[in-house]
Subunit: 327 residues, 2 copies
Amino acid sequence: MALDSAPGIADVRNAAQRLAGLAVRTPLLESQALNERFGGRVLFKPEVLQHTGSFKFRGAYNKISGLSEEERARGIVAFSSGNHAQGVAASAAMFGARAVIAMPADAPQAKVGNVRRMGAEVVSFDRVRDKREDVVKPYLERGMVLVPPFDDPAIIAGQGTVGLELMQQAVELGVRLDTVVVPCGGGGLIGGVSIAVKDASPATAIWGAEPEYFDDTRRSLEAGKRVANEPGHDSSCDALMTSEPGLITFEINRRNLAGIVAVSEKAVAAAMRDAMAHLKLVVEPGGSVALAALFSGRIDLKGKCLAVVLSGGNVDFDVYSRMVAGA
Amino acid sequence: MALDSAPGIADVRNAAQRLAGLAVRTPLLESQALNERFGGRVLFKPEVLQHTGSFKFRGAYNKISGLSEEERARGIVAFSSGNHAQGVAASAAMFGARAVIAMPADAPQAKVGNVRRMGAEVVSFDRVRDKREDVVKPYLERGMVLVPPFDDPAIIAGQGTVGLELMQQAVELGVRLDTVVVPCGGGGLIGGVSIAVKDASPATAIWGAEPEYFDDTRRSLEAGKRVANEPGHDSSCDALMTSEPGLITFEINRRNLAGIVAVSEKAVAAAMRDAMAHLKLVVEPGGSVALAALFSGRIDLKGKCLAVVLSGGNVDFDVYSRMVAGA
């Protein structure tokens, strides 16, 4: 795999300049109660407060702003369960570009509704039966430009601005981060964040978190090559149900990650409840896996200073209520 | 009423210096969907993200930090349904001072639990049957110092730092605020905020929001004198169930407020749901009344730029779930 297609810190810095004043510089939050429970200091980076309710706006906007006017005039296509879709729809609307988004039929209604509200066209597909590539093919054949969800240098660089802000905010707070924990789907967020974190602080350990049965990056890191998830499983973490790591993201993550923790549905629900009770944040299942990973005992917390990314908050109320009540 | 006991902008600025690095500088958040719905620009100041989950930490810390060491050594007493209690408990703990908090027996369990966790002693009383003054009397007779919930210059100045930050953040964003909307219980928050807002921008209108049946400040402004609420009513807004305006707070608010909107339980639930869906914030009933006030039609929104304070997020899950589901 050609490593020269991987973005570097300069690309992340450029993305930050493009996003200045458009993306929310999400604050670092902490809870005394959670610090006491974990026996360390845990700083949360709540991308639920980001424009469109997840970090995905950062990568999508960075990608679309880097296209030529001619490309944007042809229109934009994406496939996504919803967070990338919203990031693309919002970014396309800011450039006045047409956007067509292929979304699985079982995507959260909150996500589908938001994409439509932002003026994008939604094409529905069956997550199991249809190949998402086939769904978008007719639009690509007409010349529309694909904005991929994660395996793209500009997308990864955009998501990396989460890490850039995090390291700046840690300096402002006067803390040294021992560990950063980040949700992992296709690996774009954690890959981008790892570039910024390792640039600023090579000694900081970067841990990923994946839902159980969708721990393709964990198993790929163990195998030393990209392996796919077994079909036939389901998860509440719709945002993280990718089938296998990206080519570029895996090359970055195999270099930069300390490891990945696979978390249970039960741990996800408990993390959502903790985020509600102690941080007053609505976090979607996939957005809470990095907090859930702290319950595993796999990551050293005692006396440490950690940052945890809460990556998205786009969840339907009935799912939210059921999971938090059951936690 | 002696107006010279009212705090001024210098007191608010001093409070901000005391709170620097201890209180969260809560960000300004906005939602494209809500902006579109309201036809204006609405910036939210989410004090749910504040230390202890509400703005109350600001006033309590400012008050306690202004006591002498000798006074703090005697211990601190407060009565509160929970948010002031948590602010006092956290602040007392930071100074190593003993704290005794009288809380109504029907206070949210989340609030009672947090107060205990922070090391304060909780004395329970019946909201209807007992006089809260009588409950704390034995402690005051032993020399402990009362930290009142709102009618105190240092408390009002501390809460005013919400307004100071708000006006600074508006300048940073390059916006001029036409209107600021703030929840009103005893009037400490809105009074303090009004001092900072009127200092920076005399033309900005300041609106309060109260729950129906607990609109004592609204009726007091109309009557030109302090009037109490009729007994016998209940509200989900436990944080705002004061019986009448404070002496100092009413003098400030009668000078500075454009008016007060009384909001229904239904509007409160809808506001809580909107905060969840569009801002990803868990807002307690009393914390959401200023957003609820925007639904009333009483406040001019079209083409305007508003700031809305979401004052607290300490709500038990069953209440939250029931209200948001019913909205």
